[in-house]
């Protein structure tokens, strides 16, 4: 990308070339259309300019022409739609083998937590060739995680998780922007994505000393007394959480929901919202008691209890045959 007059953004992810290919197709079609209209208007305006003694010829119109120039553009637009939808589907569907990274946005910074426990602010180090899934939430207003070189953007909302993913292809330092207006320093809420070769990345990662995220979560789990009710040996007052993540859960009111990240999150902050069938609404809310970072650690811990999957242990009320939902079902 030229530093003086950039005309095209860097291509640094697997998605970038796909988006660019579609964009070039759109540019070509639009260019042809624009040229067609411009040339037609210019030629007709000159050819039929007003000259003394020549009158305009009245033409009523033509239904055939109208239908033609409605159907053909519609057909072309459908190619836009289908191609765009295919790319969008991929953009919104993190592969199952993704490495997860937690992102907390606040006015006006990005806080990043790796599963290994590494924390960063306004910087995200990632290796090339690895699918990275971002699990994002905001502490205050709406932000948006935007990396032009990866062609990804996803709004980050308070009170829930949204996800995005990418696979970086080219080492380098790329812009991270906040794309949703969020107040005074909106334009300062940026940072860098640092893409490294896997071995460099491993070296960088080894430099940290903090405990893995799910370990922090495990400590919090006992610190907040969760383990008193959510027991792993016998049936406690709350459901056994082993193997719960990403499985269907039967609720008291008869609904079945997938226990995705947002479900685990809601169950901590607002436990009475979705009561598991057979249990009493006795859990107190932890809203205001856990920070977003602690919440992420707890969610990571609960998720870690499902790897490797241990089936339906302890969850008596779970439907007996519950095939593991493919990961791509839990997109927002």
């Amino acid at each position: 990308m030229s530093k003086f007059l950039p005309l095209w953004p860097d291509q640094a992810s697997t998605m970038a070339s796909q988006v660019d290919a579609l964009y070039i197709y759109l540019l070509l079609v639009s260019g042809v259309m624009t040229a067609l209209i411009f040339v037609a208007v210019t030629v007709l305006a000159i050819k039929y300019r007003r000259v003394p003694g020549r009158e305009a010829q009245q033409i009523e119109g033509s239904t055939l022409l109208e239908i033609t120039w409605s159907i053909i553009p519609l057909f072309v637009m459908m190619t836009f739609f289908v191609w765009g939808a295919v790319i969008y589907f991929e953009e919104r569907t993190p592969p199952a083998d993704s490495t997860e990274v937690y992102v907390v946005a606040k006015q006006w910074m990005w806080k990043i937590e790796h599963m290994e426990g590494q924390r960063e602010i306004n910087e995200l180090h990632v290796p090339t060739g690895q699918n990275i899934k971002l699990i994002m939430t905001s502490q205050d207003v709406i932000h948006s995680f935007f990396v032009p070189a990866f062609r990804i953007k996803q709004d980050v909302l308070p009170g829930r998780y949204t996800t995005a993913w990418f696979n970086a292809t080219k080492p380098g330092r790329y812009h991270l922007f906040c794309a949703e207006y969020c107040g005074t320093q909106h334009s300062g809420m940026g940072g860098d994505i640092i893409v490294m070769e896997p071995q460099d990345y491993a070296r960088w990662m080894a430099g940290g000393t903090s405990a893995p995220l799910q370990e922090t979560g495990k400590q919090l789990f006992s610190q907040f007394g969760c383990a008193t009710c959510h027991r792993f040996d016998v049936q406690g007052r709350g459901p056994n959480l082993t193997g719960v993540y990403n499985k269907p859960v039967l609720l008291e009111d008869g609904r079945t929901v997938i226990a995705d990240e947002n479900y685990v999150r809601e169950s901590i902050l607002n436990p009475t919202a979705k009561i598991v069938n057979g249990f009493k609404p006795v859990m107190p809310t932890f809203q205001g008691m856990v920070s977003e970072e602690q919440l992420n650690a707890l969610v990571a811990y609960v998720k870690s209890l499902s790897q490797p999957p241990t089936g339906t242990a302890g969850l008596q009320n779970q439907p007996a045959t519950s095939p593991a939902q493919p990961q791509n079902m839990q997109v927002q």
Binding site: D253, N270, T272, A273, I275, P281, T285
Partner: protein, 235 residues
């Protein structure tokens, strides 16, 4: 589509109520009534936004909305529904009286309608007072501890979600009450004008249009009452 342009020659050229830019009284009346209907459409869209919010949140926070609904006084709501239905009848009778040229009867029905409207607002006032006393008004003093339904079964409720129910309750009934106040004002003015003899069997469009407005406000309540008060009661 109506084509009011092909009209017969009118013999009411001296009708004082006919505005200069209309060809005849029929055109003027048609214009006024189409205008009123369009205004009612905008009112429906206006309340539609709130109904939409209510439905979305009711689905999202079902328990809290059910529990909140239990706390509304069904008797006051039902009384008000009855009052409004009766007032719609008196409005219809007022229009009939205007059509028949019975001035005193017209004024009488208009006054009764205003009184019924005020009855509604008074009952609403008592309801609001009850909410204050029970700390069900959203804000720092909001409390919500009553989590039992009619059958004594415990409903788990997050107070913040219950507060959302009461927020919508106050916004929706408040907007409705505002429309009631405007309607009462409108009918009071019309009653005075009717007393002075402004309306004749040939010209009573304002009475008709105000009546349409009143019916709409009435209908909105007919939706609000079940949605807010009744929908979660099983007993």
């Amino acid at each position: 589509m109506h084509d009011s342009q092909t009209t017969t020659v009118e013999h009411e050229a001296h009708n004082p109520a006919l505005l200069h830019h209309f060809a005849d009284a029929q055109q003027q009346k048609n214009a006024a009534s189409l205008g009123m209907w369009l205004f009612l459409v905008t009112e429906i869209m206006f309340f539609g936004g709130m109904f939409c919010a209510y439905l979305v949140y009711r689905l999202a926070h079902f328990n809290a909305f059910a529990a909140g609904s239990q706390q509304l006084s069904i008797w006051m709501g039902a009384t008000n529904t009855a009052v409004l239905i009766v007032s719609s009848v008196t409005v219809v009778l007022a229009v009939k009286a205007a059509e028949a040229g019975k001035r005193k009867l017209l004024v009488g029905y208009l006054v009764v309608t205003v009184l019924l409207g005020m009855t509604f607002l008074t009952v609403k006032g008592f309801e609001y007072r009850e909410k204050f006393e029970k700390h069900h008004v959203p804000g720092p003093t909001f409390k919500f501890t009553d989590t039992f339904d009619d059958n004594g079964k415990q409903i788990p409720v997050n107070p913040k979600e219950a507060q959302l129910f009461f927020s919508l309750y106050f916004v929706m009934t408040g907007m409705h009450a505002l429309h009631m106040i405007i309607g009462c004002g409108l009918f009071s003015v019309l009653a005075v004008l009717a007393w002075k003899g402004h309306y004749t069997p040939g010209y009573f469009t304002p009475i008709e249009n105000a009546g349409l407005y009143w019916h709409l406000v009435d209908i909105i309540w007919i939706y609000l009452f079940p949605l807010l008060y009744l929908i979660s009661r099983h007993s």
